[in-house]
């Protein structure tokens, strides 16, 4: 049982790390602000979700696990809002020259 949980953790976190890698590659390769914003707010959130999922079996208490899930939900909410807000600011032609 322990081993199964550990394997689950390793697989989930490795997948999460892959999405962080993908997000960073996107930031490096995409040509403009809006596409970079897309890479950042999509890939990294999925990465974080998978990391949280992977850490759940390692959590010492149920309450600790619930807090981690809440963290992920809050980050999702923040990212979704922020990506819209920043995108609008970027479309206005960039805040300041």
């Amino acid at each position: 049982m322990r081993i199964a949980a550990d394997i689950f953790t390793i697989v989930a976190i490795l997948t999460g790390a892959f999405f962080f890698l993908a997000g960073t590659v996107g930031l490096l390769r995409f040509p403009d602000t809006l596409t970079r914003l897309h890479a950042l707010t999509k890939a990294d959130n999925l990465g974080l979700g998978l990391v949280v999922l992977g850490l759940l079996p390692q959590s010492s208490s149920v309450f600790g696990g619930l807090k981690m899930i809440l963290v992920w939900l809050l980050v999702l909410l923040a990212s979704a809002t922020v990506s819209q807000l920043i995108a609008r600011a970027a479309r206005r032609g960039g805040p300041h020259p």
Partner: protein
Amino acid sequence: MSIALHLALIALLLALAFWTVVARETFAAVAGFVSYGLLLTLAWVALSAVDVALTEAAIGAGLTGALLIGATSRLRKTEAAARAERPGRATRVLAAIVATAVAAAIAACVLLLPDPGPSLAPEVAQNLASTGVGNPITAVLMSFRAMDTMLEAIVLLFGLIGIWSLASDRYWGGRPGLAPVVEPNGILAYLARVLPPIGLVVGIYILWVGADYPGGKFQGGTVLAAMWLLLLMSGLHDAPAVSQRWVRLALVAGPAVFILVGVLGVFVAGAFLGYPEGLAKPLIIVIEVALLPSLAVTLTLLLMGPPQRSESSP
């Protein structure tokens, strides 16, 4: 492995600090500095200072960033003129020499620190039981060094008085910040409706958990302040006029309760801020609960700046 992680953190800290100093545009420097604040949170955790990390997460990631970003945007027009004032090469070289000398002196001090380092941890551990709280940092803040914490709360209040005193005469007693503009269906208004209830719970939870685990009133108060600021920025709620009685009362209530408990200690326990045997924990909780709203209001108004509109302005 752990050392590689620490080295990566240090390299990133130094790189971001360097960026903050040398960036050409002020906004670039501010963005670097806010990221630097978030990174410091990781550094505090690496140094086993989780309570400090929590404070940094609240203040550094939340309030300082908002303060500096707002100021940069207001002062943007002065940037070109300020660049012309940049000092000449001689001054810069001299500054670099002075800075290197100071850094070298501090580095020498760090290398010459006594080994093993002096520590008050055993004393704290020994007397922890008398305070009734489980988190040694809360015990230090609220019992062993309670005087510092009380003065800190008062310093925050003085800072706010300093800021308010910058108001122009005609707006004295008025509302700080710009008049609210609401976009009722905008994404910002949505966030400001969804997040504050959750933030309220988290803020109070962090105060509560501070008795035994990392947490406390400053961190909780900052989260509450950030939620109120979110409401103010979204325009759903207008900033109160600084002359309103409830604002004044909210600001003073926490420090006043703290002082009152302190004076009570003179009579009951024989020392200012002395807690009578067995009553330490209830009194600490009373002070913390009283300080939480005061700190939240103080921090919010510190960020809002001096009154800029008359009280009746919409």
